[in-house]
Symmetry: C2
């Protein structure tokens, strides 16, 4: 423990004192302030941040470089440091479509890249509890918030439900909403798996992001409230555009909405 | 719609027929079969996969190349295609520590890189509902399953609880378990934010992964069952090692454990 001459604050004394470790620590706190909107517009100056975090200006500079490399901030001489990109929160708790979850941020528009009936690959048939050789409806959508590509969604629907969904407007309506409309039922539960993957070159071009850029990859199997699985999706979200948020509890096996 | 001469199956007719789109579709289904353990050891041959997915061997080859680039499979002439890496499931539903969630897969070992009392940066003090200038306990751990680095965890604990946690064995015990031990209370809820980010060079070296590799980044604020926030964590998980899994429901704001 040592007292800084400059700030008078007690300094952290990590066991390993590499500057890169300190920079990461500062960057983590800052990035979540930026994401939460606590730091909007212009980011505080280096000196102020150094005092806040009980660290040196060099460490702050390195932390800001990390956030700049992620595309969260822009740094320009004289103009200072500005919040560059907005990331949007996708609720992890509620089973909401993109349009529903981003209400208030703008209009979600879907470029429908494929919409057709195909023979279900065996693995898809199993997940949707169909017989081998059954058909499924396959839909591929590139999803935008205004002009910003957010995600690429590959969707397999049970054939009866899917045929009805195909008759509706896929460009401006969430599949979740259409599923409830055409079946007259509510959605029940969903099983999901969430990963971080690198964008392959073709996907990167489609999502207008550099090859290798980190993507949040969501596989989600959604059931109607009668327990029937109807919707298997593979969703790639741009890592620099989407944060998934939720709450959970330990003692009871229940999640609560934020 | 057209019938394949080779397989007799009805072929997909996507609106945009690029092979890269078809390859991505095949890769998505295969990757989740691999993750779910449905395809263990040796992956079926190209011809078999082409028939299953109603597509060409060239498309299958391109799909397998995508999975190889992600490190999920190895391909070698004569030896065929094998599942290369195992990813581990981290429960998204239950509030479990890594050691608890990976029970059965091996022993989690923590390399404690920092463990000290520091002045809380203002943003951390606010999240933990501390007064400006209050202390926090800062712990930095690199976490291994056997010899495999899985995650780098930066942890800020409320000072009273943290001081007691520091007196315990951080190398083999989850912080969640220690929190319940030293407070005599159960953990209550947690707020979490999940993102995909690229590994900066320093973090990449620490996690023994290439710079730019995709990481699952989790920010989690955990409360005791009396509603007091005690544990703020920034967790970077290797994207090629961890899948987060959970279930959720639409109609009621509750999550169910798988």
């Amino acid at each position: 423990m040592q007292v800084s001459e400059k700030t008078g604050a007690t300094e952290p004394t990590p066991i390993r004192g590499q500057r890169a470790d300190r920079a990461r620590r500062v960057a983590d706190i800052l990035r979540h302030q930026i994401l939460a909107g606590a730091v909007a517009g212009t980011v505080p100056g280096e000196q102020e941040l150094a005092a806040e975090h009980g660290t040196s200006r060099n460490t702050v500079r390195e932390a800001l470089a990390l956030l700049r490399d992620e595309g969260l901030i822009d740094r320009a001489p004289k103009l200072g440091t500005r919040v560059a990109a907005r990331k949007f929160d996708h609720g992890l708790d509620a089973l909401l479509g993109l349009q529903e979850t981003l209400k208030g941020h703008g209009t979600v528009r879907n470029e429908v890249r494929a919409a057709s009936t195909i023979t279900a690959p065996p693995a898809v048939a199993r997940r949707l509890e169909l017989a081998p050789g059954d058909k499924v409806v396959y839909i591929e959508r590139l999803r935008f918030l205004a002009d910003l590509p957010l995600s690429l969604d590959l969707t397999y629907l049970a054939p009866d439900v899917g045929a009805e969904v195909l008759a509706h407007d896929l460009e401006t309506t969430d599949v979740f909403v259409l599923l409830e409309q055409v079946t007259g039922r509510s959605l029940g539960a969903a099983d999901l798996a969430l990963e971080a993957v690198a964008a392959d070159p073709h996907t990167a071009t489609t999502l207008d992001t550099p090859a290798g850029a980190p993507l949040l990859m969501l596989e989600r199997l959604t059931y109607l409230d009668d327990g029937r699985p109807v919707d298997l999706e593979y969703i790639r979200m741009r890592g620099d555009r989407i944060t998934m948020r939720g709450s959970l509890t330990r003692s009871t096996p229940e999640w609560k909405v934020l």
